[in-house]
Each structure stands twice: as C-alpha cells, then as structure tokens.
Amino acid sequence: MKSDTQLAIVKMLRIQSADERIQMADFTIDELISVCISRQVVDGEVLAQGINTPLVMAGFILAQCTHAPNVRFASAIGQSLCREWAPLGVGRIEDLWLGKALIHVGFAAAAADLLPSYNPKEFFRPAQVDACGNFNNVAFGHDYHRPRLRLPGTGGIPDVTTTSDHIYLYVPRHSKITFVEKLDFISGMGHTPERKHGHGVNYLISDYGQFDWANGRMRLTSYHPGVSIEQIQKKTAFQLEIAPDVHETPPPSDEEIRLLREDIDPLNVRKLETLGGGARKDLLREILAQENAL
C-alpha cells in the first residue's frame, strides 16, 4: 500500500541531478534548509543555539526577522539569553553572543537550571539516526574502545533528549551513512517505549526533504524541489513512511533569501555545513580573511 503511493508519486516527478537542481533554482540548498528551520519556529519561543551549527543560527535569526519577533536565543557561546542578533561569524562569533547578551549564567546553570526550566526548541545534527529517531554522536563502529571513527562527543544530547519536548534534527547531507537501520550507540533518545519524560524527535530536515514522526517512525512530509521520493528512499537505509499529503517543499521567498544573503549571513558561514573538502576549506579561509581572523 505504502509503496504504491510512493511509486505513483515517483512517476509524477522528474529525476534530476544535483547540478541541474542548483542551476534551475534561484536559491541554494543551505538557504532552503535555513528557511525550513525558520518556518519551524513559533513566535515567543526560547531557541537553544548550540556550537558550530550556523544553518540553525541563520534559521533562528531569519524567524525573528520575519514571523517570530519575540523569540529569545539561549546560546551555548557565552551561555546567554539574547534578544538582539548580529551577523554570523567564525573567528569573531563571540561579538554576537557576548556583545548582545541580556544575561550570562555560565554553563553549569545553563545546562542544569536554565535549559530544563525553559524547555527550549533545539536543532541537533546527528551523525547517525534510526527510523525511531534515536541518534548517535559518540562514535562510528561497534567497539567503543576501538571505534572506526571517534566523534567529538555528545554535549548535552543524552541529557535533554530524555526530558525535552522540543527536539528537532537537521542533516546537511542525506546519506545511508547517517540514516541507518541500527545505530552504533544511542546517545539521543527517540520514540521508544523506555521513554519516561519529554517527547521523541518532532521533525528533521535534510538536503532532500522534511520529515516527522507522527506515528513514531520517520515519515517523509515533503521533498525538496527537484528531488524524488525514490531518491530519498535510496539514500535511507530503512523503509521510510510517506505522509498521505506528501508534497514539494515550498521554496524560500525572495525576502527570505535577501535577508539571509545580505543581513543575516553575508559571509556565507551557513555554507560551511553543506560544503566538503577543498571547497569548504577555501570558504573557511575566505570568511576568516574577511573577519581579519586568519
């Protein structure tokens, strides 16, 4: 039944290469991801901003500039609450979170007191995620003491995903390396019977589409322009559920694109999350040069 719906929709869609997609569109994938993140924000919320997640930061600021003027940012850098924002940076990122903060609480109070009390919305970037929305940021490989790839660590993920109602995920590069049948380690808790508090992951955006967990399993709700459902399933190691009203992701508006490019992130810091290899390194060097932080 599920696969019938899937096939019907696949037939309706043209399958294009990534290059064609970019040539056809007047926006780039990083911009679409930040815009979709922005659209998940509700006015008045407290938004937790982690470290080194510029696609999220750009989306949060965009939300404040458009439909959610009363959001507050709870930032890991400076452990602060901010209302005002400044353009994204790398070498001078502290100008934003230290220069504009309303209060600083230190990391102990931020982690143990502020975040559990305010229950903010937060987007995490999983290294691996399964169909139930459990995720892993510890290491790749079965042997914890000899991992295939050791990752930086889990920050506060095992703390907030077990209690929070507002867990969201984003994956800048959709692949079977990330969307796996079985995790190597569970550090982020998803939709499982063991859960005593909070709520499993609500939403995920990748460079291929948007997803929810309406039935406790990852479900495609929209595919990005130029991407087919078949392509998304091929890049996912488990069977995806497909929402009955699955549709194309609405593109960014001209104003959203203008805000991102001209006001929020003129240095293109957000693109560091979608680029790889030499192109990423060149951009990083360019950003640092413009910040006078090389």
């Binding site: 990122i93 560091l272 006078n292």
Partner: protein, 271 residues
C-alpha cells in the same frame, strides 16, 4: 592569599597522574601559554586526567605529546575547524581512557563536589547507551517518587588553570562572560592558577566582563597573548588560520614538527 609567579614555576606545580582542569570553552579563552610551558618541561607530566567542559586545541596538544591518560569532557573538537586530530587518533587506537561525559554528568559531578556529597541525582541519560559506556555511574531510587535516577559521582580536581584578561595586586581577576564552567572549577580545584593578558593597578567591575574576586586564584601569572590562537574576547578573536595550519600539519603526520614550533613560540614570554 595568592602568589604572583612566573609561568615556568606555575607549570612545575603539575605532577604526574593529577586531575587538571583547563578553563574556557573549545576555541575560546583557553590557557594555551600554560600548556606550552608544561610541554617545555624536560620531564613532561604523564598520565594526567584532563577535565574540560569542552576540550580543543590546548588539550589536543597534550594528548599528542603523550601527557594524557584519561579524558573527561562533553566535547573534544575544534568547532568549525574540524575534529581534534590527535585525540581522534588516540581514541581510535585505544590509547586513551575516555570517561564519556555530558553536560549533566560534569555539572552534577561538580555540584556534588561543591556540596561535599558523593553524588547528585539527575534524569539525564536514562534510556540511552550512556550508562553502558560509563559502568562506574550508578543509579539511585528517588526516595520521594520512587523514580530511578542517575547518581552522578562527585568530580575531583587537583589543579584548575584559567586564562583571564587582567589581574591586580589584590588577587582579583577579570575573565570574560564566555565563562564555561570556570567559576565551578575555582570552587572544586584544590589549587587554582590564573594566567592573564595584563597586570593592572586595580581590576574594575564592568557589565561586559566577569569579576573573579580574591581569594579565587592561588597563583597569578602574567602571560600576554596567553590564549592565542584561541580567542580572548574582547582583546583578540579566534586565530582561525592557525587552527587550519595545525589540522593540516597533523593530517600530514607532522604533529612532532608542529609541536617543536609551538614550544619555540615566544609570544607569551616576558622579557
């Protein structure tokens, strides 16, 4: 009562197998000059337990130089600049003992130490694999609700090393507001060493900085540019180019060459 001492004397306070904590956050306000001085010692410390909320370049150098036996932090990496290469390699080869920490386990562990109790309870971790990765962390039943909770053990700390903007002759120190867990480290460490950018007549309180008044610091060391290439807001930003150079050197198998250059750098030396 604090003492003002040179960097070399401060580095000699560290003994093998101690738990030392490095203040600041990832690539912000880390005690890099102190780490350099530690690595200049003819007898480098061995088997240290390194405690950082988030560890970065300064800790990676210590891991690469073989000084670290055990690592405790919630994150070990270089943010935009990528993985911490020497830590990543040591972890994959099983050459370093990792005590997997999260924000809750470090914060509750420090609060236990501050309160003089053996543990602090928390709802964190339950239902994830973290309890399996840390079999030393036990659970406890809440006597009021009967809920099973993690009992995060008290975290000990022999020496904490922080870097700040300025200090005065009364022992007051000015840090910035990207504080991390610096204040808690001052409370839990048996010995506190603070390196500073400059010595001043009197440290003034201001809204855009954090004042650590006496008697927080036991030792104060003048070390200009002492956080470079990590930032010391608002004095200087993250020197991103240096992180890129470090990662490239390590990836090319040239950590030892980089370390030799790093040790020879005299930017924080006085006179």
């Amino acid at each position: 009562m604090y003492q003002s001492i040179p960097l070399s004397e401060a580095a000699n306070l560290i003994q093998d197998s101690q738990t030392i904590a490095l203040g600041g956050m990832t690539v912000y306000r880390r005690p890099v000059a102190f780490v350099r001085e530690l690595l200049r010692r003819p007898n480098r410390p061995r088997d240290l337990t390194l405690l950082c909320f988030t560890a970065g370049y300064e800790s990676d150098l210590l891991v690469g130089a073989g000084c670290v036996g055990t690592m405790r932090s919630v994150y070990f990496g270089l943010e935009s600049f990528g993985l911490a290469p020497m830590f990543t390699e040591a972890a994959q080869k099983g050459m370093i003992n990792i005590l997997e920490e999260t924000e809750a386990s470090i914060v509750m562990g420090m609060r236990a130490t501050m309160g003089g109790v053996g543990f602090m309870p928390s709802r964190a971790w339950i239902g994830t694999d973290l309890p399996k990765l840390r079999p030393d962390v036990k659970t406890i039943i809440d006597p009021y609700t009967n809920e099973e909770l993690m009992a995060f053990p008290a975290i000990p700390c022999d020496v904490a090393i922080l870097h700040g903007l300025e200090a005065d002759s009364y022992g007051n120190v000015k840090l910035n507001n990207n504080l991390g867990i610096d204040m808690e480290l001052v409370y839990i460490a048996k010995t506190v060493i603070v390196t500073v950018e400059r010595m001043v007549e009197q440290v003034e309180k201001s809204t855009d900085s954090f004042l650590l008044p006496a008697p927080g610091a036991d030792y104060i060391v003048h070390a200009p540019s002492g956080a470079w290439p990590t930032s010391c807001y608002p004095a200087y930003p993250v020197a991103g180019g240096e992180f890129m150079r470090y990662v490239d050197a390590c990836n090319a198998g040239k950590f030892d060459e980089y370390l030799t250059e790093f040790i020879a750098d005299r930017r924080s030396d006085l006179g």
